[in-house]
């Protein structure tokens, strides 16, 4: 058991937790903004996959991880255009369109990958780290947290920025009212369509970046169905977090912990069946649901199309 606590081991463990948590965190923050504005995106899984694939291809071609992240965000926004046009503008059923986007995302990315890359499976290598001077000297934490890539820091900054914006700006207030009571926003002279459109675009960009992070930094490659249900877990986490982005961040870390603990146990020599280890993240989600589901609160107008004057 002494291996379990060695410096190198803990460093790798913490780094794994973060690597697993960040894609989920990005997607959940995106979904939080969408849901707070009243748009439920069940297409999250498909959007993440499209973001992951586009990012993978871009980085493979250009060799640049930053371009890959950007392309992932753009890919996510494009994938979310279906939600934007069909749900927000035309008021169609959000569940049907969301599931369609998931299926389309899964299908397209699998076909394209199998068509282009099966013969020579490609790995991206690793993104150079960007140690923070001083802080990265701290044992364990310095290596695990403060020597992450620049992308990690940008992602953290974006997330904290959005948490601040939701809580403190007029944009955040409008976004929340669009999910609480869109008629109030309309009567106050705001635009429900514009507010929800912005939220859906952000939702797509963040979910796309989540997929991109998963492909570029967590796994360094792409494979069909890479997300493996992560998009749906993000939806669960969003609903449990009651729209608070900081809670989303913490919950995502718990998930990362669940994923990282399996390999860690194996490395340390504790014999646990591989099946159990694969199940662990989902078990954690189920347990979280059982414990917290009663307290989950979704915005009252979630999933409902808005048209002026209709009651």
């Amino acid at each position: 058991m002494s291996d379990l606590l060695s410096t190198a081991f803990v460093t790798v463990f913490v780094a794994t937790v973060i690597a697993q948590a960040l894609p989920l965190m990005l997607a959940s923050v995106g979904e939080t903004i969408g849901e707070q504005a009243g748009v439920l995106n069940l297409g999250l899984e498909g959007v993440m996959l499209i973001g992951a694939y586009v990012a993978f291809v871009t980085t493979l071609t250009t060799g640049n991880f930053w371009f890959g992240m950007l392309a992932g965000a753009v890919g996510g926004v494009v994938a979310n255009l279906a939600m934007l046009v069909l749900n927000v503008w035309l008021g169609l059923n959000q569940i049907v369109i969301g599931l369609a986007v998931t299926l389309i995302g899964e299908g397209i990315t699998s076909v394209l990958y199998l068509q282009n890359y099966t013969k020579s499976p490609a790995s991206l290598g690793s993104q150079p780290s960007m140690p923070i001077p001083g802080l990265s000297e701290i044992p364990v934490v310095g290596q695990a947290v403060f020597s992450q890539s620049g992308i990690f820091w940008v992602v953290i900054l974006i997330t904290l920025g959005l948490a601040f914006a939701m809580a403190r700006t007029n944009w955040g207030l409008s976004t929340r009212s669009a999910g609480q009571k869109p008629s109030s926003l309309d009567a106050a002279g705001g635009s429900v369509m514009r507010t929800r459109s912005i939220a859906v675009v952000l939702n797509g960009a963040l979910a796309g970046m989540g997929g991109a992070y998963l492909a570029l930094l967590t796994t360094s490659t792409f494979s069909p169905m890479l997300t493996n249900g992560l998009g749906f877990i993000a939806i669960v986490i969003t609903m449990l977090s009651r729209g608070r982005i900081l809670i989303v961040m913490i919950t995502s870390l718990v998930y990362g912990l669940a994923v990282a603990i399996g390999p860690a146990l194996q490395v340390s020599g504790v014999s646990v069946p591989a099946d159990i280890i694969k199940m662990l993240p989902f078990l954690i989600v189920i347990v979280m649901l059982i414990v917290f589901a009663r307290s989950s609160v979704v915005p009252p107008a979630l999933g409902a199309a808005y048209s002026r004057g209709a009651r």
């Binding site: 403190r168 007029n170 609480q180 109030s184 309309d186 106050a188 009252p300 004057g309």
Partner: protein, 531 residues
Amino acid sequence: MTTTTTSEVISLRGITKAFPGVVANDDISLDIVSGQVHCLLGENGAGKSTLISILAGMQQPDSGTVSIGGQPVDISSPKVAVDLGIGVVHQHSTLVPAFTVLENLMLGDSGVMRDTKRATQRLGELAELLGVEIDPHALTSDLGLGQQQQVEIAKAMWKGSRLLVLDEPTSMLTPQAIEHLGESIARVKAQGLAVVLITHKLREAYAMGDCVTVLRGGRNVGHIGVDELASYSEEQAQDAILAAMFGDDLAAAGSDAVDLAGAGEAQRETAALDLSSRPVRLQLSGVTSRGPGHDVETEDVTLTVRAGEILGIAGIDGHGQQALSEVVAGQRPAASGTVVFDGEDITRTGVRSRQQLGVRYVTDDRLHEGTVGSMSVALNLVIKRIGQAPFWKSGRIQSKAVDIEADRLIAEYGIRTPSPATRAGTLSGGNIQKILLARELTGGAKLVVVNKPTYGLDLKTVHLVRELLIDFAADGGSVLLLSTDLDELIELSHRIEVISRGRLVGGVTNDGPGTAEKVGHYMTGAIEGTD
């Protein structure tokens, strides 16, 4: 532009707005002058709300123009209305319940960052102007209805308005809160703003208004100018308004119309009956309900309804009325306490069995819970007797028996429908309510629970519904009447209990003038007491 020294006129000219099947506004013209309270009177469906939606930018007129101070304006969206200084307090709250007062007020502000400091200051100014006190950090859903309305008025005036429109502002307020509102309106008027007050109660129009316009069937059918109204006595004004409101129907409606239009203080006409000797029909003892959602539940409710008695339950909407009616109907379990009906403990009895015993429930959600809109009128009339003879035999529906029963009820209750096979959802609200009453008041009904029975109905149907309930009680039936309309409760009930946050906080025997004040006292007392 919070104040205007010279009087400014907002003119509506030839406003016409048609919806499929109805002309809601038909060539309406009127002038709204600053520093005056302009009352718009009319029945439900007279076109008041449509006219307001047009002023608020929620709807565009098919033809006609609006001009402010001679300049034509195109109010193409609510934002334009806000920018023009037209503030509207809608009949249905536009506040977000999960937001604090300040958050609600800041919604729609421009600028990137929320300016809490400026907002607090502005709220202070407005509170002073209105003569009210509002806690900026209170959660809106925690406020009483009167306070919520004060916030709504502050919101309507947030960006400095020239016109304040109040759509049926008194419909859910206690007499005391109405008095407060009147004072606030007077202060707003003194600031030089124009005020449009929509109401269907004559005495409010006379008490608060400087001039009156009456709408009927989407048309402007009468106007009483400032000088004219000032020169009239209350009775003269009443006659003039009633003549415009009802036209030729006035003779037919007679003195009922006067009551319905809220001309005088509502008062129970019949002498108070001595009910103490009558047998007890329904007895609730310490009933605490337990529902599935976030509804307000009843807490330790004890009440008695005797045979032939109408017991009114007064209270602000959402204070446990639904829980109380459902716990009596059997749709919601009681966590503790007992429900006794005709001496029999029915606390654990199901909905179907209670119906067969004679307990009936007319829900306030008549479109969703009360009827199935896509099914025929005939089926809706027997829907609570599914599987029972003679309408069902060996599990098969007996169309003939259903049609005979439907024809009988349609005739008896005057349900206006093209045929019994017409889909219920296509009927008007009044006729749907008649379907519910026909279904619940027949077939051995002994106790009927009615929740907001006349909400949103036209005056004639309101009158009919009230007659039905009075007749039902006169024949020995018992009525538990839950309503937010104090006048209705006073007109119908023998006794009135006040519900607040799920508890009964006081009861009043309805035995003459002053009942409204006593009930209102319990209502306000209850709210302040728990704050």
